[in-house]
């Protein structure tokens, strides 16, 4: 007889899995990327050591910055703690808090987090941080319609916009996976994820060139535990987006269908395996494309938009 976990514990485990594994996934991606480029690269666990070091360091704030500057990292991190409650991380059946919000609700919470980081960047008074915040919001405005069209596709496919419902629909039959609308929406979402996590066609991840920076420029003025929270939050956001892509769109298999402890543990392992695979794919994309010029990012967004719109069109008008 295996142990049956109570529902609140599973719900909490979803958050713990995401938050705990997020730096590891980031570490894995930079490791794979380094190997692809012929470097040895940092250890997979390096991000954890970085976070531990930053948490021990002293925190400084620019002169004139108000409490918002210091509160924003914690607020953003709280947002990233909330989203894993809403999406299918470990279970194929909806957990009670899963109905707290739909895909749009999760999207709103993620945008709230990025809004808070942008406010903190403005508060810092540093030109680079402000530039990054302003760029992030500008390009965010053109990737938002893509997300909306992806949500429309989901809504047309399932009749709801709950992530659990789409995962169940995709699992239902092979015909669902072959539907062009589903593939197009997934591809568009992947492009948005590349943008949101600051990956190559859009932005060089963890690079030193300020001119091309978008997301990376925002925490320039934060230090110590605050910087650690921002870094950890960025890694958590990345894993949350990967989880949405993998567990809702691309491969919603391997999720626990019962409350038994082994099934849940297996689901956690499966999620990390799938996220690691997606991370390897992202690393390959990172190494095989050049960074787009800043003014070409609209073209990248236009391509993602095209995919999402075609998804809705084939589904709604074409019947595919």
């Amino acid at each position: 007889m295996s142990v049956v976990l109570p529902v609140p514990v599973i719900q909490a485990l979803q958050v713990v899995t995401i938050i705990g594994a997020a730096p590891g996934v980031s570490g894995l991606i930079s490791r794979v990327e380094a190997r692809l480029q012929g470097r040895r690269g940092p250890r997979v666990l390096q991000p954890y050591h970085d976070l531990a070091k930053l948490f021990r360091k002293e925190a400084l704030a620019p002169q004139g910055a108000s409490w918002v500057f210091l509160a924003a990292p914690a607020g953003a991190f709280a947002c990233y703690l909330t989203v894993p409650l809403l999406i299918p991380v470990l279970t194929s059946y909806p957990l009670p808090l899963g109905y707290l919000g739909d895909i749009l609700g999760g999207g709103f919470i993620l945008s709230l987090a990025s809004f808070l980081v942008a406010i903190a960047a403005l508060e810092s008074g540093s030109p680079y941080a402000q530039l990054g915040a302003s760029r992030a919001k500008t390009f965010g405005a053109i990737t938002e319609p893509v997300v909306l069209f992806v949500v429309f596709t989901v809504a047309l496919l399932t009749g709801t916009d709950l992530p659990y419902a789409l995962a169940a629909t995709v699992r239902a039959s092979a015909g669902q996976i072959m539907r062009p609308a589903h593939l197009l929406a997934a591809a568009a979402l992947l492009m948005v994820i590349l943008y949101e996590t600051g990956r190559i066609p859009v932005e060089t991840h963890a690079a030193a060139s300020e001119l091309g920076m978008i997301e990376e420029a925002r925490p320039f003025e934060h230090s110590g535990p605050y910087l650690a929270l921002l870094r950890w939050g960025a890694a958590a956001k990345q894993l949350i987006l990967y989880t949405i892509f993998v567990n809702v769109f691309a491969a919603p298999w391997g999720l626990a269908s019962s409350q038994r402890a082994p099934a849940v543990a297996l689901a956690a392992a499966a999620l990390l395996g799938k996220a690691a695979l997606l991370g390897c794919l992202v690393a390959v994309i990172d190494s095989s494309f050049a960074k787009l010029r800043l003014f070409k990012i609209t073209e990248f967004a236009a391509a993602a938009f095209l995919l999402a719109v075609l998804g809705v069109l084939t589904l709604y008008l074409g019947g595919g």
């Binding site: 047309l156 496919l157 399932t158 009749g159 239902a172 039959s173 092979a174 015909g175 669902q176 996976i177 072959m178 539907r179 062009p180 593939l183 197009l184 609209t298 073209e299 236009a302 391509a303 938009f305 095209l306 995919l307 719109v309 075609l310 069109l313 084939t314 589904l315 709604y316 008008l317 074409g318 019947g319 595919g320």
Partner: protein, 232 residues
């Protein structure tokens, strides 16, 4: 319009190939180099041939294999070869900057707005085709609408680009779109008719080849904007 109901794996797969054909058309619209545009056309033709093989296998129509072979030979090998030789022979495209033929700036609009206009036009194609009631239960539901959209986007390619090569490729890919429509609605169309369509294309290639040579010989340019200087 039954969005919740998934079509079968065959219909879905055929739809996916049709979507890829449409995306290839959009790719041609975005493409900056003449060489890559020819390559994309070959890829699109390859998709058509693959679809012909799949339709032939599923519907049990062996003559489609012959058609797939014929169209692959013609559209993946002969036509791209001819186009590439044309590009090389008269250093055609050299006037458009770069030995590979940089045709990016031959468009009348910026890239992002072209894509948006083409998206709107493709949507119009979907609207138009959603009122057709052809095709049986087994037919891929979206492929016909997609083929109409490919035709319209090919029009946009021909209207928007002012270099002869893009216009030729636009016309050739138009034929691909018509083949797509024919394959999904009337797969058992007699082989002779489809072969005739292919030879029609061959005539178009010869005419366009001549046109490109003559135009380049006279105007020393591939851009059709120079044609205005020929007015009396």
């Amino acid at each position: 319009m039954s969005a919740g109901h998934a079509p079968g794996v065959y219909a879905g797969g055929a739809d996916v190939i049709a979507v890829l054909i449409l995306l290839a058309e959009f790719g041609m619209l975005r493409q900056a180099l003449a060489r890559d545009q020819v390559r994309l056309y070959a890829a699109q033709s390859g998709l058509i041939s693959a679809l012909a093989v799949i339709v032939g296998a599923v519907r049990g129509l062996p003559e489609l294999y012959l058609l797939a072979g014929l169209s692959a030979a013609l559209k993946i090998m002969v036509i791209p070869l001819v186009l590439r030789r044309l590009l090389r022979a008269g250093r055609v495209g050299a006037d458009l900057a770069g030995p590979d033929g940089d045709i990016a700036r031959s468009g009348g609009m910026s890239l992002a707005s072209t894509v948006l206009v083409a998206t709107a036009v493709a949507a119009a194609g979907f609207f138009a085709a959603s009122h057709f009631t052809v095709g049986g239960a087994a037919a891929p539901p979206a492929a016909l609408s997609l083929s109409v959209s490919v035709v319209l986007v090919a029009f946009i390619l021909m209207i928007h680009r002012r270099d002869v090569l893009s216009q030729a490729i636009g016309l050739f890919s138009l034929e691909n779109a018509i083949s797509l429509a024919a394959l999904v609605i009337a797969a058992s169309l007699p082989l002779v008719l489809e072969a005739a369509l292919l030879f029609d294309l061959l005539v178009a290639v010869i005419v366009f080849g001549l046109l490109i040579r003559i135009h380049h010989g006279r105007a020393e340019s591939l851009s059709t904007t120079d044609l205005t200087s020929l007015r009396g």
